[in-house]
């Protein structure tokens, strides 16, 4: 056994955890190695010092203070004094409520973003350069929303459907193609 192997086994040696053949090897090494003997001496001095540390025990008032803490805890469950106590006592309920609100808000946002009117637009309108840049949700990308002043116009061109319906009730698309082309042209020119 060399010094490196012995150092790795030092704890086992001091704690009497080495099996007999290995213990004999370690002892044989110790007989020949003064440096490892010194290590053993120093380390066992340290372990003895740790064992000899005075024991710190609980004070006389320990149990009384603990009972007071328990009583306070029971009280806070029955009469929450502030919002934080209320929250920490019912954190699961609050978390479930928050998750439910998030899901409902998410559903609402997705629902509001979906525009059924655009889905029913005629192919001509869908291929319009202005409208083709809009997502299937019928809302232009955020970058365009900020950059283009045409948002109002696009919205009014989509809402045109209502007035066209009144003019041409026989038209299934609800739009006069000529009128629509003119309006798209107008939108493109203004762009």
């Amino acid at each position: 056994m060399d010094c490196y192997s012995f150092t790795n086994l030092l704890t086992d040696y001091l704690d009497n955890q080495l099996k007999l053949p290995l213990r004999r090897e370690a002892e044989a090494h110790l007989r020949e190695c003064p440096s490892c003997r010194q290590k053993v001496e120093e380390m066992s001095g340290l372990v003895d010092a740790l064992h000899a540390l005075p024991e710190v025990s609980a004070s006389d008032s320990f149990e009384a203070v603990l009972m007071e803490k328990i009583r306070h805890h029971k009280d806070s469950l029955q009469h929450p004094r502030n919002l934080w106590t209320l929250f920490s006592n019912h954190s699961r309920t609050f978390s479930a409520a928050a998750a439910l609100i998030l899901v409902m808000a998410g559903t609402l946002v997705i629902w509001r973003g979906y525009n059924p009117r655009l889905e029913s637009l005629p192919p001509l309108m869908k291929s319009s350069p202005v409208l083709s840049s809009m997502g299937s949700s019928g809302t232009p990308p955020l970058s365009q929303q900020a950059a283009t002043p045409l948002k109002g116009d696009v919205a009014s061109s989509v809402t045109l459907k209502d007035s066209s319906d009144k003019k041409h009730p026989e038209n299934n698309d609800g739009l006069d193609p000529e009128d629509f082309r003119n309006r798209i042209q107008l939108v493109n020119d203004r762009r």
């Binding site: 790795n8 030092l10 704890t11 086992d12 704690d15 955890q17 120093e42 380390m43 001095g45 340290l46 372990v47 003895d48 010092a49 740790l50 064992h51 000899a52 540390l53 005075p54 024991e55 710190v56 025990s57 609980a58 004070s59 320990f62 149990e63 203070v65 603990l66 803490k69 328990i70 805890h73």
Partner: protein, 192 residues
């Protein structure tokens, strides 16, 4: 309930889970001193150690249903106390209210439990208690836990392995390296 002293820890916690508060009190009496001693070596303040151990017992009171009989009660309660002590140390480190790492050997804030202080015993030891406590406080957390549980609480490798949640081989290696590191720190303190 008959005399609670006759029951094992596991029987007592089972009784408490059924609502017997005397079983709870018996567990508190059995463990309060060893847990205060254990936590004191972590936080180096008796008041804080008592506070943490009371919180440990409060957790036992409010969450006794979390204990399952697959583990020994002692392992479970040591784990809770150890985790609370570590959390407190981390909080302290973050707040930087007080750091034992910055303390020198002459710092007066360092607490020695006066009722158990024995100068005669100390003079026989190679190291002074104050030096040892400072050196323990400077150990990395995983070595500190291993050294306190093994060399101060005198628990077995297997029990430490369950409390810390690592294999017994890792525990041995941490104890070995922890002792070497502790010795280095103590030599450094002596040379100052």
């Amino acid at each position: 309930m008959r005399d609670t002293v006759k029951y094992t820890d596991e029987e007592l916690i089972a009784l408490f889970q059924k609502g017997d508060e005397r079983a709870y009190l018996e567990l508190v009496r059995r463990y309060k001193d060893r847990l205060v001693n254990f936590v004191f070596r972590f936080v180096a303040s008796r008041e804080m150690a008592e506070d943490i151990v009371q919180d440990t017992f409060l957790k036992l009171y409010t969450s006794s249903h979390m204990y399952k009989e697959i583990a020994r009660f002692s392992t479970w309660i040591y784990t809770i106390a150890g985790n609370l002590a570590k959390t407190e140390l981390r909080k302290r480190k973050r707040r930087k209210i007080y750091s034992i790492h910055d303390m020198g050997i002459d710092d007066k804030e360092f607490e020695i439990p006066s009722d158990t202080y024995n100068p005669e015993r100390e003079s026989r030891s190679a190291y002074q208690e104050k030096e040892i406590q400072i050196a323990i406080s400077r150990l990395p957390e995983q070595f500190k836990t291993a050294i306190i549980l093994r060399d101060i609480q005198e628990l077995s490798y297997e029990e430490i392995s369950k409390i810390v949640g690592v294999p017994a081989g890792t525990v041995k290696s941490r104890i070995n390296r922890g002792r070497q590191k502790l010795q280095e720190i103590l030599k450094e303190l002596k040379s100052k």
